[in-house]
Symmetry: C2
Subunit: 154 residues, 2 copies
DNA sequence: TATTGTTATACTCTATAACTATA
DNA sequence: TATAGTTATAGAGTATAACAATA
């Protein structure tokens, strides 16, 4: 398993990472870490974390969705969703209304302010995506999406 | 922003996720979540978490690397690295030896048992990668690595 | 009997500050 | 003065169990 003999990190501080770099999982993690970091800093100025952005998008696209539906789509357990929704409602970005057919549930809606914040967030996310994909051509971007979809598929 | 009118998640529980699915960051996250989950369950039977695997690989490939070098490569802060290395040494998989030129530092080495566990882990990771990439052709795998590298590049 | 929302809780990961011993 | 390792601690993110109200 030794590759660098025994003087690694003694003379030059060069570390062999070929083995990890050959793993798709490791590459995926690195790319995702970088994208997530830029995503976070893009939204931080308006006080929106990645998870809140995803919630705003799904509620905005599916007005009236109930909490467990939102949690299912975003893979957030219902217990963990409660304080997150409280965060949105507490800031006046979303609201809970009684669900029409199920008195156990709450239907979720964006407030006008929530729509505004979502629009601003979407603009920031679009320029974030441009930045992250700057090195890729149009066809390369499509290819990337396809390949990622094949990996994520069920 | 409304797409589903107001009856989303009432009649059919179909949720619109087009907006999120159009974002490369979201696709990346989904793919990475799936790969990480399979990676974890592949190594769990031998008591190795993803982070411990990465540490074993880097120490094995760079015997004598000091803690801060290991932390730098894997993006783990030195404070968080201490209990992780303790975990490896406590299980007899790695050991700390005085660093030759720097009496502040510890040089890290795998024990023979650590080498064995790493070999077993590598075998499991290889079959994990095969499973994750089953839907991709050889050229597609190369393309994916390239595109991910472009995104992760500095 | 099962499900929705809620609370409480615990465990992992990550981030920061401060200390020691060396450089 | 700066750096390597360590400790303590706090904040996210995530997971499970239990309860009330309703299906």
């Amino acid at each position: 398993m030794a590759v660098n003999s025994d003087v690694a990190a003694v003379e030059p501080p060069e570390v062999q990472t070929n083995l990890l770099n050959g793993l798709v999982g490791y590459r995926l993690r690195q790319a995702q870490n970088r994208v997530l970091a830029d995503f976070s800093t893009s939204l931080a100025p308006i006080g929106i974390r990645p998870v809140l952005f995803a919630m705003l998008v799904v509620i905005g696209t599916n007005p009236g969705i109930i909490q467990i539906g939102l949690g299912t789509v975003l893979h957030i357990q219902r217990a963990n969703l409660v304080p997150l929704i409280n965060e949105l409602t507490g800031r006046g970005l979303a609201e809970r209304r009684p669900a029409p057919r199920d008195r156990r549930a709450f239907a979720l809606y964006l407030t006008p302010e929530g729509e505004q914040v979502l629009d601003e967030a979407m603009a920031r996310v679009r320029s974030h995506e441009k930045r992250m994909l700057a090195r890729l051509s149009g066809p390369e971007r499509e290819t990337l999406i396809e390949l990622l979809a094949k990996i994520a598929a069920e």
